[in-house]
């Protein structure tokens, strides 16, 4: 079997040593050679000194999920040598800094050792102590470029882009790159049996992380007030919004900002500010992770019951409690879907790619304002913080923001009467007013306490029930508005099916492909939103068994399906990956095979 454009390289570094940009350089150069690539950063919750890994999968077939089994390990971190060497596939390669000899205890008979004296080379060639350290990373990139048949001119092109305005830095980087490349040329056989060959397989794809895409989506979606509290892995989303807004949202005449960003004192304040801004008619959002959702719950209940739009992004990480802050998971679904005390239910959007992060983020403001309720976009660390190959973003210049049912002064003037919580149209969505619209009409008292159709305080039981029931009707309207699931087939072709969502998509699609090649195709559905559209239940109903693929311990989406659609639990088979690493196709297949009592190929 050809190993061209089909392998996994893992880099083992110490965090805080500048390795991230060197490793990204490698991934980007494969992408530039037209070959599909996906990169995953596996990093500690720490600033400096602990092991960190960067895993790159190169896939001719375009599989972008993570894959178990490392073909080439590039390790410059003796702390993790033992674990790193153990993780290499039999027949694989271990590239290390041979300035110091490798201890015998690390040797393995079934893998190849490639020693490159990175530190020696840098000590010899560079004088500046910082450069000696940083260029070690570039030297190994040069070495693997030679081993994997990557065109160094592609990497040189990336240097030129990276150091625009700092051209002095290009020459020493190019020098370091060639030192690595030349060392391999003089000492080893190359290329390795697995390597890169240029292709034209990426089309017009772009490479970006989900948080940056969502930050940009919020700029396009018209967010003007952003409040936030720093928390991994959501912080870079607001940073991206700020970076783009600085460039794209300055008033051309005054140079003043057509946006406001406030770093709040905590997550409670962050969501409070976003709700206050939306109440006052500006599009506003905040971004957080699981612990933040816990803290925001009370406010989400207020927004739900007082019917105010607000957009929240939950970039999920491994819980519970502080959990593993830098590892991925899809474990906030139940807490987000029903956030807050009392009977509540929230609209969730579930992106799988950065392009969907961009689109759903922009759309989230339309949904929130049309529905007058919180909309939560459920991203995760894998999607948010890793660079992904994705289709380019598109924007229709004729698009108008859909601000929902907001009354103007003229409308208030002409209406015989108005009540904030009256269901005039029968879709469960009332008409709202923004403060200061009209001198004498349209004011009301927004409150989280029980109220009647005219927003007056009320403890009258029938009134309370009427309002609570209308809120359910509103969610029925939501189901018709929010993204429908994606189906991978026409009609019914198998007795079992799989359901997945979010970042399980790439691994699941790969598993579907493999099953098809094995002659056992399986029907599939990807969920994109909550509450579930009618198609979701209709799809599941058709099959004897449905595998629900998730990245959490408690099968949270399965619980939501059972709870919302009253599906027989026996029918829904759990496939759960919750170790903090992104799910793989092998993992999915192993579970499906086990359940179907078929031998694993």
């Amino acid at each position: 079997m050809s190993r061209v454009n089909d392998f996994v390289v893992r880099f083992a570094n110490v965090n805080g040593t500048g390795s991230a940009s060197a490793n990204y350089l490698f991934a980007k150069s494969v992408f530039r050679m037209g070959v599909p690539v996906s990169a995953k950063n596996i990093f500690p919750s720490n600033i400096q000194g602990l092991p960190t890994w960067y895993e790159v999968r190169v896939s001719e077939k375009g599989y972008l999920g993570r894959k178990e089994g490392i073909d080439l390990m590039v390790s410059v971190n003796p702390q993790s040598f033992k674990k790193d060497i153990a993780s290499i596939k039999s027949g694989g390669y271990f590239l290390y800094d041979s300035t110091k000899p490798l201890h015998d205890e690390f040797l393995r008979e079934d893998i190849h050792f490639i020693g490159v004296p990175l530190m020696d080379i840098c000590n010899r060639e560079f004088t500046d102590p910082r450069q000696k350290q940083l260029f070690k990373n570039i030297v190994y990139v040069g070495a693997i470029a030679r081993l994997l048949n990557i065109d160094t001119s592609v990497i040189e092109g990336l240097f030129a882009e990276q150091f625009q305005g700092k051209e002095k830095l290009i020459a020493p980087n190019v020098k370091a790159l060639h030192l690595g490349s030349d060392y391999v040329k003089d000492h080893f056989t190359y290329p390795l049996e697995f390597h890169v060959e240029a292709r034209d397989l990426v089309g017009d794809a772009i490479m970006i992380d989900g948080n940056s895409a969502a930050g940009l989506g919020a700029v396009y979606g018209g967010a003007s007030v952003v409040s936030w509290y720093p928390i991994t892995p959501s912080t870079s989303l607001v940073s991206a919004f700020e970076d783009y807004a600085k460039k794209l949202r300055k008033d051309p005449l005054t140079g003043k900002n057509n946006y406001s960003i406030v770093q709040a004192e905590d997550e409670l304040a962050a969501i409070g500010m976003a709700i206050g801004a939306n109440w006052n008619g500006a599009r506003s959002f905040t971004a957080t992770s699981g612990p933040g959702v816990s803290l925001m719950s009370e406010f989400l209940g207020l927004a739900y019951y007082s019917e105010l739009p607000v957009v929240l992004v939950d970039v999920q990480r491994s819980g519970p409690s502080t959990g593993m802050p830098t590892r991925t998971q899809q474990s906030d679904f139940i807490s987000a879907a029903y956030a807050s005390h009392g009977d509540t239910k929230h609209v969730l959007l579930i992106p799988s790619t950065p392009t969907e992060c961009f689109d759903m983020m922009a759309d989230a403001f339309d949904y929130a304002e049309q529905l007058q309720t919180p909309v939560i976009m459920m991203s995760d660390l894998d999607l948010g913080m890793n660079d992904h190959m994705t289709t380019p973003f598109k924007w229709d210049d004729n698009r108008k923001y859909n601000r929902g049912k907001v009354l103007t002064a003229d409308q208030l003037e002409s209406l015989p009467s108005w009540g904030r919580y009256r269901d005039v149209d029968g879709d469960g969505i009332p008409y709202r007013t923004i403060p200061a619209t009209h001198p004498t009409k349209g004011s009301y008292f927004t409150r989280g306490s029980s109220h009647d159709e005219n927003a007056a305080y009320s403890e009258d039981s029938p009134t309370y029930v009427r309002i609570m029931d209308r809120l359910l009707r509103k969610l029925e309207t939501a189901k018709k508005m929010i993204p429908a699931p994606q189906f991978y087939q026409e009609g019914k072709n198998s007795d079992t099916a799989i359901v997945f969502y979010g970042t399980s998509m790439h691994a699941a699609e790969e598993a579907i492909d493999i099953l098809k090649n094995e002659g056992a195709p399986i029907d599939a559905m990807r969920l994109k939103s909550f509450p579930f559209c009618d198609e979701v239940g209709q799809f599941i109903e058709q099959y004897d068994n449905v595998f629900v693929i998730e990245q959490n311990r408690d099968a949270q989406m399965r619980s939501l399906l059972i709870n919302e659609l009253e599906i027989n639990p026996k029918k829904l088979v759990k496939v759960l990956n919750y170790d903090g690493t992104p799910i793989t196709a092998d993992f999915i297949l192993k579970n499906i095979h086990q359940h179907l009592f078929q031998p694993i190929n």
Binding site: D204, I206, I208, L216, V219, Y220, G222, S224, V225, S227, L248, R249, D251, T254, K256, N257, N258, Y259, S260, V262, A264, E265, L268, A269, G272, M273, I275, G276, A277, N278, W279, N280, G281, A282, R283, S284, E298, F299, L302, P392, F393, K394, W395, D396, D397, R399, K400, P435, A436, H438, P439, T440, S443, Y444, F445, T446, R447, G448, A456, Y457
Partner: protein, 350 residues
Amino acid sequence: MTYIKPKFAHPRLPKNNLGYTRKEYEGSLSTLCAGCGHDSISAAIIDACFEMNIEPHRVAKMSGIGCSSKTPAYFLSNSHGFNSVHGRMPSVTTGANLANRSLIYLGVSGDGDTASIGMGQFAHVVRRNLNMTYIVMNNGCYGLTKGQDSATADYGSISKSGNMNSFEGIDLCALSIELGATFVAQSFSGDKKQLIPLIKAALSHSGFSLINVVSPCVTFNNNQGSTKSYDYVREHNETLSSLDFVPVKEEIVADYDHTKITMVEMHDGSMIKLNKLSPAWDPEDKLSIMTALHNAREKHEILTGLLYIDTESVELNELLNTTDTPLNQLTEKELCPGSKILEGICDELR
């Protein structure tokens, strides 16, 4: 139960410059206990807004949870109000203010809502110098849950059930001055004459204005031994300054005695005509007011009047360099960069 006041108004009721009567600044009938200090504060807010010719719909009434936070229903019914969650009025007001910097933000809160559950948000709204007036209706106890001590109850104060408070009371005025508040005043709900000009001045101030109003709880904290009872406050009220508020464009009659009266010019051009009653104190000197507050505490006195003002105050929107147009009025034209720019961004990501 909801009470609705009759809409009928006497045709000869005096009107302000906008043609509104005082009635148009009122709210629905209060459901607080008869004699509650909070109702007097609501009345003072109504008078201040009426006399200042404020358009009611340009005011946003913000509150948290508690007796005090119910009061926005009892004044300015032509204003939008937001009764948010307990202790979180500051964050909601911050977001609202960022969305539309041109409105007047009037927050009312209580001592529990501010000094206990809301202490974090209170501290941060002060240090951000949000352009709002923050009135604390301070009665030293939790009314709605039947009279428990709050964090502003003074050490040694006796509750209705006869227990002595053995914890230090939080002085919201001193605290907010430390945190960088740019307008701090203290008053008593029973002193309308002092409270109305203070509210007017606070509403005119650009930046964060605190008015801590001691407002006795007639039901749970008006007993002998309480330091927040009507009798105690009347007896221990030490007026630091008396003042008149002179709105913009109103001619200042120069008949005052310069040795006694200080004129403080506000951001919007209005003036505070201040009668200083303590020679050791200067309203623009933090140290002098901190000393005065400390001394008053030692003597069990409650200093009232304007305590501190920073006339150079820079409010949050200015600090953030936000555009002058309220953000909630921006449209696709200003907000959305369009497809061409997006294509350029994508090109850089290849």
